[in-house]
């Protein structure tokens, strides 16, 4: 079928109007090849030039003149640049126009199911005659499996198989439109953000990542009831599990353990286990009072002020330690507290006894939150394309005609492609037909 299509005589472009030739170009496969090549080259550029970094990074990588050109051409964000989008839109137009043009010709070819006359049948490359009196059910009875009738009359029958394969290319092209449409819907109406939750913490705002991070209400709240990491014996991470509660209008509506590769979905919003953070907290005993501080926290009481400035998991091989800054007669000073060294655990500063009781590391779960209403359209596109590819490349359309003649029957067959395989099938049919007692 494809071969016959492309052999259709092309109208001489000089005889058509300009508009008509533009239209012909827009729907041509030559244009498709040009567009796809450009999209491929653009994509290559996007993997060579660093994407979405900040100015300093570019200037450290490229000379200033080169960077100007990169910015001018949008090469620092190829896949969202106007020209790349324009290529995609042109591609979509080309695809739609081409497919529409093709769709009608497929539909037109569909109606022809009449049985050719005896002369036409005997002229076909594959045909044979059987003599004797029998009904055409005898012939259809010996057809290989999968053939269906498209015509049945007094004079004979037309049977076919693999009719779906004629729509293969159509399905493939339509599926690309679905995928593009789904991607576009996701781009317009979807978003992606993140949330960091401590155990027991509840939040209803997510941070939309990007150049300048913004906060955005989620419409409901998420609570982290529990977060756990497990490790393999060798120390590699094995599993991250957050137990997340969805709280909508004050009521808990859903609870799920989410892990990497197993997100939670609520109202079209997906919540993914993405990362984790370890935040250390320090239990101090300050003059008999127990105080828990985190990095950058300050303690201020009765004119004594101190701040936790730095945490190290290992200070000169002495184990975890924390650096504290305080004011001594207006002068800023710092000192280290080491948890595992008794002598350095407790200090007296300006008459106040400070003791580092413990250092704990609290785990925070890092969630990725996204909404993409187009994703199901994309999935449908995937399924349609795979089906289309299968139908197009692994099925083929063939017809078998059987017509009554004065002495018996004439049987003929045609296939659009895979003529070799069909020839074998037809030979077997012939042998079977000759074996029928008349």
């Amino acid at each position: 079928m494809s071969a016959t299509k492309s052999k259709r005589p092309e109208v001489n472009p000089a005889k058509r109007g300009i508009l008509a030739s533009i239209q012909a170009f827009l729907t041509s496969v030559t244009f498709t090849i040009m567009l796809l090549s450009c999209i491929a080259i653009g994509s290559v550029l996007g993997t060579i030039v660093k994407q979405g970094a900040d100015v300093e990074e570019y200037l450290s990588l490229y000379p200033e003149g080169t960077y100007r050109i990169i910015r001018l051409l949008g090469l620092d964000d190829v896949y969202h640049s106007p020209w790349f989008l324009a290529l995609l839109i042109l591609f979509a137009i080309n695809l739609v126009a081409c497919t529409l043009k093709r769709f009608f010709s497929v539909l037109k070819g569909r109606g022809r199911t009449e049985l050719p006359d005896e002369r036409a049948l005997s002229a076909m490359t594959m045909s044979f005659r059987v003599e004797g009196s029998m009904s055409h059910e005898t012939i259809t009875g010996i057809l290989p499996r999968g053939y269906t009738h498209v015509y049945r009359g007094e004079d004979g029958v037309v049977c076919e198989k693999g009719n779906l394969s004629r729509y293969g290319a159509l399905m493939i092209h339509a599926s690309i439109m679905l995928i593009l449409a789904g991607g576009f819907i996701g781009l317009i109406t979807g978003y992606k953000g993140s949330m960091v939750l401590g155990q027991g913490e509840t939040k209803n705002l997510i941070t939309i990542s990007g150049g300048n991070p913004k906060e955005r209400p989620l419409g409901f709240a998420l609570k982290c009831k529990d977060f756990r990491i497990s490790f393999y014996p060798g120390g590699a991470p094995k599993d991250y599990v957050s137990t997340i509660e969805v709280i909508d209008r004050g009521a808990t509506v859903l609870e799920k353990q989410i892990r990497v590769n197993d997100p939670l979905c609520y109202k079209g919003i997906n919540v993914y286990q993405a990362s984790y953070q370890k935040v250390p907290s320090f239990s101090f005993n300050i003059d008999g009072e127990n105080v828990t501080l985190r990095e950058k926290d300050t303690y201020n009481k009765d004119g004594f002020m101190m701040m936790v400035v730095r945490f190290e998991t290992s200070v000169h091989d002495f184990g975890p330690g924390v650096m504290v800054a305080y004011l001594d007669q207006g002068e800023p000073k710092t000192t280290w507290f080491l948890r595992n060294v008794e002598r350095l655990r407790q200090k007296t500063i300006r008459g106040i006894t400070l003791r580092l009781d413990d250092i704990k590391e609290d785990l925070y779960t890092g969630l990725e939150i996204s909404r993409d209403p187009g994703v199901w359209i994309v999935w449908a596109g995937f399924a349609l394309m795979l089906l289309g590819l299968f139908v197009n490349f692994f099925m083929y359309h063939r017809r078998i005609y059987a017509r009554k003649t004065s002495k018996g029957f004439i049987v003929a067959g045609v296939a659009t492609r895979n003529k070799e395989a069909f020839g074998e099938e037809f030979e077997r049919l012939k042998e079977k037909a000759y074996g029928i007692p008349s």
């Binding site: 030559t30 090549s37 994509s43 993997t47 991607g183 060798g234 990497v260 997100p263 939150i369």
Partner: protein, 271 residues
Amino acid sequence: MAFHHKILGIVTLLYLILFLIHVIYVAARKERLVALIWIGLYVTLGLHTLGLAMRWAESYRLDIGHVPLSNFYESLIFYAWCVNLIVVLMKKRLAYPAITGLACLIALFLMGYASISPAVDRNIQPLVPALQSNWLHIHVLTCFIAYAAFVVSFVCGVLHFFEWKGVVPPEKAIEEINYKSVVVGFPMLTAGIFTGAVWAHYAWGAYWSWDPKETWSLITWIVYALFLHARIVKGWKGTRMAILSIIGFSSVIFTYFGVNFILSGLHSYAT
């Protein structure tokens, strides 16, 4: 040395022997060698399968059980396995020692590279959480069957430029094999990209993020889509198709090796 390493070592040796038998065939033209080649291919495929299965079993013994498709070493071994599989599956069409010989050479290269390159970690590693997904397994499976089919297409593309009566298959046969291998490879690559997208969706919440490996697989896909249109719609033949299949395979190689070493991204097995 673990048992599976021993088996895979023997398999590597067998690919070398198979390649040498091809060389002898070219010199001596004994038709009986062709039968020996095919028996050799089947035996090697069987042993190769056993090697992969042993590695799989070994990972369970180590209590980090997973399908052996999760690091660079395993993917190389699996790639060679797929090349052999495709050759065996296309046996009816590949009755040309020039093609099977070059396929054996490529399988030998993959196995050899996997077992001696210092850049490849040959140990069984536990699966980090992002890799614990059934989509990943289908993804790797489909991608590598596609890559293996493109090996055949590439070999045809290269053979187009050589004339050697009795060794290089006739032009028409090469073209047909080239086309058929892309007909197998293209849907597989498509399925590979799609399953990868579904995996990314469940793992990171984005089915497409223009990461270098994703982008390069798209480029490869586009090249083979162009190949199909050029042949089916424009009726291209000969040198132009041969060049397209070589460009396509270069793109495969870059997607597979180049991106790992030159560009960085989500897919680099190292992280």
